[in-house]
């Protein structure tokens, strides 16, 4: 019998292809089985504020279970940080009122919100004790990816689907080295934020985050004005964050108390200084660590803990800010500073202990006055800073919300105003506000006169009340 060589070759090729496809299918399934148990969906309910009006919102975002009975999830829409504030410094979205976590077995838990990291937009919540030993925390690995390397990305499916995630194979399309490490995968949409990226070996290399917020890129850098670019933040960059989530009583972000400008090397040459970049201090906050260490407006910082600062454009300042923030309050930093002077510079190493970052507007104590349909809160550092005021220059409470048609709104109170007096009595905190308004309610006063501060001027606002009999 004559063997047809061609037929044999065809058979061998077919068997090889089939086995490789079989192997690839096996790989796919292994990776999915390994990663899927760590993935959850997070349903939140929150209150959104816009121009002093509030509205209830809800959303569903992907999350990953991590050690410590916690879940990290997409916090881009939860503005608990410093970035997501409107023109009055008021958070656009309040902390979630409720969080429901559903795991791959379709078990749902009520979780407790912890906070959002400003730079990565990674949000944290804690699962109830009942979830311990039932959920499977993910383990991230420091994996160096290469240009052109195949990886898997997981993303969330609509609510009615089971399983809740699907995976697809993609390829690393760019490895960013500056201003910091980041991997891109072509043009991913915002829907991929918090999607885990997994190697073919099933190692979780990190999660997709907005590139701009962490590295200071702007949407315009990518020619896309409709959304921030997203990419993989390698595990190394958020490892510290995972073990120190932004919980008030656990980890305090570090704060120097300065305003910054990037040091263009061309500007440095003006003082015959040859540096790859750095920071110019444009303002020093009173009583801040920077002021107490003797730093002055106009000083340059060219090293942070021995590492040169290669920031040359303002857009990349967050690379420096993130490092300072991550070092944490109570820890020392050593800065190499340069003070320009006539005909040269003075160079100094300055060591200082970082302070806690001031309370943000969203963390300030507030009070909802249901009679006047008004929500006020204590003044925080940002309120003074945004209004070019020295801290403590005026005392009062900030109007956060003012519902249309309410007594206060009809009388002429607007969000963003600072109430400095009520009926000629000084207001320094929401406690003062509560005390006076309790008396107003008790007496059923027919009118209340607010003295408010807005745009560097004071004025009086007369509000009529309509108590029900």
């Amino acid at each position: 019998m004559k063997i047809n060589k061609f037929a044999v070759i065809c058979l061998v090729v077919t068997l090889c292809l089939a086995s490789s496809l079989w192997a690839e299918k096996e790989d796919f399934q292994k990776v999915f089985k390994k990663v899927n148990p760590h993935l959850v969906t997070v349903e939140y309910k929150a209150e959104m504020n816009f121009m002093g009006q509030s509205e209830d919102i809800e959303g569903r975002v992907p999350g990953i279970i991590i050690e410590g009975n916690m879940v990290i999830f997409d916090g881009t829409s939860l503005g608990a940080g410093h970035f997501n504030t409107d023109m009055f410094g008021t958070p656009q979205v309040d902390k979630p009122k409720s969080l429901k976590i559903t795991d791959y077995k379709d078990v749902t838990y009520d979780a407790e919100f912890i906070g959002v990291d400003d730079y990565s937009s990674i949000a944290f919540c804690r699962l109830p004790d009942s979830a311990k030993n039932k959920v499977e925390p993910a383990e991230f690995k420091d994996v160096g990816l290469e240009l052109g390397q195949d990886v898997f990305i997981f993303w969330m499916l609509p609510k009615t689907y089971l399983p809740r995630f699907q995976m697809s194979e993609t390829v690393v399309t760019a490895v960013l080295e500056k201003p910091e490490k980041f991997y891109l995968f072509g043009e991913l949409s915002q829907d991929f934020i918090m999607a885990p990226v997994v190697t073919e070996d099933g190692e979780m290399a990190g999660v997709i985050t907005p590139v701009s917020q962490t590295s200071g890129f702007t949407p315009f850098d990518f020619g896309n004005i409709f959304g921030n670019p997203v990419g993989l933040m390698p595990h190394k960059q958020f490892d510290e964050l995972l073990s120190n989530p932004p919980e008030a009583d656990k980890f305090k972000r570090g704060w120097l108390g300065v305003s910054l400008q990037a040091l263009d090397p061309e500007v440095a040459k003006f003082w015959n200084l040859d540096v790859p970049g750095g920071i110019i201090l444009t303002d020093i906050i009173d009583k801040s660590p920077a002021q107490e260490a003797g730093l002055k407006t106009g000083d340059f910082i060219i090293q942070l803990n021995g590492e040169p600062i290669e920031v040359t454009q303002d857009e990349n300042l967050s690379v420096f800010q993130k490092k300072v923030s991550a070092i944490g309050a109570g820890n020392d930093v050593t800065l190499l500073t340069v003070r320009p002077k006539d005909g040269g510079v003075d160079t100094n190493f300055v060591t200082m202990m970082l302070a806690e970052r001031p309370v943000s507007a969203s963390d300030a104590p507030d009070f909802e006055d249901k009679n006047f349909d008004l929500t006020v809160r204590d003044m925080v550092f940002a309120d003074y800073n945004n209004r070019s005021l020295k801290e403590g220059e005026i005392e009062g409470v900030v109007v956060d919300k003012c519902e249309q048609g309410g007594w206060a709104a009809v009388g002429g109170i607007d969000p963003g105003m600072i109430i400095v007096k009520i009926n000629d009595r000084q207001i320094a905190s929401i406690e003062d506000y509560k005390t006076i308004m309790a008396e107003v309610e008790n007496n059923k006063d027919k009118e209340v006169v607010f003295m408010i501060w807005r745009a560097n001027k004071t004025q009086f606002v007369h509000v009529k009340t309509h108590w029900e009999d």
Binding site: E266, I280, T282, D283, N385, S388, D424, N456, K457, F460
Partner: protein, 455 residues
Amino acid sequence: MKQAIVFALLICMVGAIPAAAISQYQQEIYTARDRVLPALIHIQPVVIDYITGREKKHSVVGSGVIFTEDGYAVTNYHVAGRAERIICTLHDREQVPATLVGGDPATDLAVIKLDLSEYTGKITPAVFGNYEDLQVGQTVLALGSPLALSRSLSKGVISTLNRFFPGNIRLPSGEKTGKYNTWLQTDAAINPGNSGGPLVNLDGEVIGINTRGVFFAENIGFSIPIDIVKAVTKELIAHGRVDRGWIGVHAQPLQDLESFFGTETNRGVLIASVDPGSPAEQAGLKAGQIIMKYNGKDVSARFEEELPLFYQVIASSPVDQDVEVVLHNGDDKIVKVVPRLLGDLQGDDFDFEKWGFTAKAITNQMAIDDRLKDTLGVYVTNSAMAGAAYSGGLLRGDVIQEVNNKKIINLDELKTFYEEMQEDEKVLLTIDRRDSRRLVLIKLDNEKDTDSENK
């Protein structure tokens, strides 16, 4: 038959009465028109602006009205107040040049003088009417060049006599306007180009200068009342400017607040705010005090329409000498305040063309309005797109404090540095932006050229 005759007569009467009334009304309009039309002018000034970061000249169109036989005409400040040259077209379509006599941005009025040396026609100046005689509902005519359509007339009524706008309307050149006057509101059509033209009554007297309309509204226009026009034009002809006293208080109406402050209705003016470093602050005046008398005059502002009158009283007070302010505090309290000159609302402009930005001198009022620390430095009007300053990050509102580490006190010092600067010199500006002090490097094009040649 008798009934038919009576019926026919009735029809004639009914028909005749309105026909006669319309005819008389129409005749009044014609008469008014003929009285003011010979004084109407179409104005084409060439104005200079600096708002784009470059000194730019452009031709605009407005209206005006001649009010003296020797050719003085009034128009708006925003039409001709910053004009480099002015061409006027008269009622007979002859053109004559004109020069700027003076402008008052606070009331948005300007006076120009027509050069009639080569004009052979006859000038018939318009007559100013009286504000006190005006009534809501009174028929008025607006004349001017809406959308550059010269010698146009529209008709309406006075909708209200004393509309108030808070004094924070900004003219294109940056000055705040409207603090010292209320406005006549009219439904006579007022469009862009009507600015500076007369609003006249049926006697043909000018009762206002048409100044602004409201976009997307149906015939809501505003004119500066004639009493303000009379006072301001007199000052502009005499001194080329209007000087006002200033103490730095901001008042608010007392309506509904009388019982809280314990004052009588229609008595006193409430101080809402006091400018830092102002004469009022130095005299110890504070928000929440009520001024009962100023410089011997009783003052009152229960409603917002009364605020301009109070500001006029302050504006007319003598400067650099004690003025008595009587405050209400149960027992009348007297405070001495020393008013200062209000001064220019905006400073002189300059185009730093090589550096790619425009800037202006800082006046006292600019420092207050823009919340600057003081008047030291130079205010950046704007950076020209794609210019050297723009690339370096210089923004509108920055205040230049130093150039190449040399302190800059005012615009003249910066101009001197600019003019004496060597062509290839680098320029490092130290600027204040709100509370921060930043560095801006200006890389000049000739420097880049030198670099590329070296390569």
